[in-house]
């Protein structure tokens, strides 16, 4: 197998796993599956990479990349190593593929688990800055529909004597930035923004889907006035770079090609209705087919 960047990237991206497989995430996966996965990484890659690359320093390099960036990136960096035997690279990619598939299969189980052994691994990830997902093509999310049309997001009316119904994000409280809230949409804006700020921004591909899930969990129609108000606020925050300064390139959900997006309430609504961000060509193709 070739070890140039393009070949490796294509091979690893095929797994379509948006989550970075850090050791902590794999430990959580070990707990829910009962499989010994980290030793497998150790045996297949870590213990062999020094021999494969001809220098013990590469073992350390791989370990560091794995801990800092996750397994996909650590393997992707093989393109910068001295020439590696094809069977070794193939085995590493094969292992990644297997782990990525296994992780996707168990992702929901992991993020909703009450098992403190799983929770602490996710909390560790959060603390060490599990800041984004891979900028790789992702599976299409569930398409949303707006049977009643899309309302204009008006600022909601304050509820007299409103009392908080949601917990304040602990980090927001720690730095004394929890604001006065006047209604549930206010609280949700604060909750989502604090989550994106302190727990990591999941990237444009996932962020607004997560926000939509949260709104629906609290009985708010994403395309109603309150929902659009919350989406509008989050769009403003993204454009003000409150969740970090990042390139607005997103892989198209249809063709996988990266394209530049303009983050606006309209483009976010389109992505929610389409189940992901779609490039102009694919949109035009879909319209033609219709």
């Amino acid at each position: 197998m070739e070890t140039d960047y393009e070949t490796l990237h294509k091979r690893l991206a095929d797994a379509r796993c948006p989550y970075k497989l850090y050791p902590a995430r794999l430990r959580a996966l070990e707990i829910v599956t009962g499989e010994r996965l980290l030793p497998e990484v150790e045996e297949t890659i870590t213990m062999r990479v020094a021999l494969a690359a001809g220098d013990r320093g590469w073992k350390l390099q791989f370990k560091r990349d794995f801990e800092t960036y996750g397994l996909l990136e650590a393997i992707l960096y093989f393109h910068s190593y001295p020439s590696l035997p094809g069977d070794f690279v193939e085995a590493a990619c094969g292992l990644y593929e297997r782990l990525a598939t296994l992780y996707i299969e168990h992702h929901q189980e992991i993020v909703t688990s009450d098992d403190p052994r799983v929770c602490v691994q996710l909390e560790l990830l959060r603390r060490f800055g599990d800041s984004s997902l891979h900028s790789l093509p992702q599976h299409r999310r569930q398409r949303r529909s707006a049977p009643n049309g899309i309302a204009i997001g008006e600022p909601p009316h304050p509820v007299p004597g409103y009392r908080r119904t949601l917990p304040v994000h602990p980090d927001l409280s720690t730095i004394g930035m929890a604001d006065v809230v006047y209604c549930l949409p206010d609280e949700l804006v604060e909750l989502l923004a604090a989550g994106f700020m302190f727990d990591g921004f999941p990237g444009l591909q996932g962020a607004f889907f997560d926000a939509a899930d949260t709104l629906e969990e609290h009985g708010i129609d994403v395309f109603g006035s309150d929902g659009q108000f919350v989406i509008g606020k989050l769009v403003d925050y993204v454009n003000e770079e409150m969740f970090g300064d990042f390139e607005r390139w997103v892989p198209c959900i249809e063709c996988g090609e990266e394209f530049m997006v303009t983050v606006s309430v309209e483009s976010v609504n389109d992505s929610l209705l389409d189940g992901g961000w779609t490039c102009d060509d694919c949109k035009a193709g879909a319209a033609e087919q219709r």
């Binding site: 009450d114 098992d115 403190p116 052994r117 909390e123 990830l125 959060r126």
Partner: protein
């Protein structure tokens, strides 16, 4: 108990030593800090320790003023409670009659908050509460790391329930001597605060011209201790009263040759230390060995959680002699969390094994309402946890064959919540 010379009425002459005022408290606690946390605890403890060792200070004996200074300068809550104060672990880190230096376990991997609990007695200005406050402050200065490690210990028990047995084994062997040593160290801090160490030095007493022809150094020491523990009164001038004081001083010195009366009265403990503190200061070999043994079980540094990177040992058999978490049946949990409890309570997954893990939950802060009626959240949850009723947590734990470890608010935390003091 040695008979005491009756203090003259309070209306008599002023006491021989004027207590310190606000300036002294400023010297003791320094510039205000927004909170006491793991980050600044070491510095604050060192500063306070250095202040207490200074020979040129005048002890502050006003309970209310010290309490206010702790709250205003260190934002360290001091909660008074009429309840008998309980420990949080099998290590007995509380004194039922005085109080405890407590930590609020909210979310395991987050910052630990410290607070002092003082058992309320009739007159808050009396020497008993002053002693209790200084004693608990002594725990804060000397044992903060052990308090931190308690939080870690609970987290580790949730990740690996069989650790409860290991801790129980350690507690059976060492809890009592460890508790005694910690009590002695906290008492020593309280005594050092009230009676500067130069009082131990006969020469210094003569140099400072506090001794009269008839008053012995031990008589004077006892006089100072009584002023500090009970109420200040003028140094007696009558020969009979001075002779009684001298006799009492000599008697207490003789009594102090015995072992430290760690379950004795406040007076007995303070007296013993007054005459023995030179010998017991610093870490002795036994104390160091006890601490080492404790940290071998609990892990060191106090935030170390080996279970984060290693596999847990699996479910061990329950040994009824060694378990120490209070166990209740699911139907009894609501009543248990609403009672005045100082330690968490476990609804076990099984009576014969420790189980694979325990789900740690706590109620959300609320100014009113009983714990059983509030929403409860997971204490290891990443980010913002979801609130669920206690009954739902019971169902979830049962469906996973996991234990449910509930951390109800203790009476002090209830007070803090009612006062609206931020918990998160």
């Amino acid at each position: 108990m040695t008979p005491r010379a009756t203090p003259p009425s309070a209306a008599a002459a002023t006491p021989a030593v004027a207590p310190g005022g606000p300036d002294e408290l400023e010297r003791a606690f320094g510039e205000p800090v927004s909170r006491v946390s793991e980050l600044n605890w070491g510095e604050l403890a060192r500063r306070l320790g250095a202040y207490v060792a200074r020979p040129d200070r005048t002890p502050v004996e006003d309970y209310g003023a010290i309490r206010r200074a702790l709250q205003e300068r260190w934002s360290l809550p001091v909660v008074e409670t009429p309840h008998e104060v309980g420990a949080m672990s099998p290590l007995g880190e509380a004194d039922p009659d005085y109080g405890r230096c407590g930590v609020r376990l909210l979310d395991f991997l987050r910052e630990t908050r410290v607070y002092l609990v003082i058992r309320q007695v009739g007159d808050p200005g009396g020497g008993r509460m002053l002693w209790a406050l200084l004693h608990e402050l002594g725990h804060f200065v000397n044992h903060f790391e052990m308090l931190l490690s308690l939080g870690t210990l609970y987290q580790r028990v949730c990740l690996d329930p069989s650790l409860e047995i290991e801790v129980g084994r350690f507690a059976r062997e060492a809890a009592s001597p460890l508790h005694a040593r910690r009590e002695l160290e906290a008492d020593l801090f309280a005594l050092d605060w009230l009676l500067p160490v130069w009082v131990d030095d006969d020469e210094a007493l003569r140099r400072n011209a506090v001794l009269t022809d008839r008053l012995t150094p031990d008589g004077y020491r006892l006089y100072r201790l009584r002023c500090a523990l009970d109420a200040p009164f003028p140094l007696p001038a009558e020969p009979e009263a001075v002779a009684a004081l001298n006799r009492a001083g000599a008697g207490e010195r003789a009594r102090a040759r015995g072992a430290y009366p760690h379950s004795g009265t406040r007076w007995a403990r303070a007296c013993w230390l007054l005459f023995r503190r030179r010998e017991v200061r610093g870490d002795d070999a036994e104390s160091a060995a006890l601490r080492r043994a404790y940290y071998r079980v609990a892990g060191y540094p106090p935030r170390h959680i080996p279970e984060l990177t290693r596999r847990t040992s699996g479910s061990a058999a329950v040994d009824p002699e060694l378990v120490w978490l209070k166990r209740v049946a699911p139907e009894g949990l609501a009543a248990e969390v609403d009672a005045a409890r100082w330690a968490p309570v476990l609804v076990p997954s099984s009576t014969s094994t420790c189980g694979k893990y325990h789900i740690p939950v706590r109620p959300v802060p609320a100014q009113s309402g009983r714990d059983s009626e509030l929403g409860w959240v997971h204490m290891s949850w990443p980010g913002v946890p979801k609130q669920r009723p206690l009954a739902e947590w019971l169902d979830r734990a049962a469906s996973q064959a996991a234990g449910l470890l509930a951390f109800p608010r203790n009476p002090a935390e209830l007070t803090l919540d009612r006062e609206g003091q931020a918990r998160e």
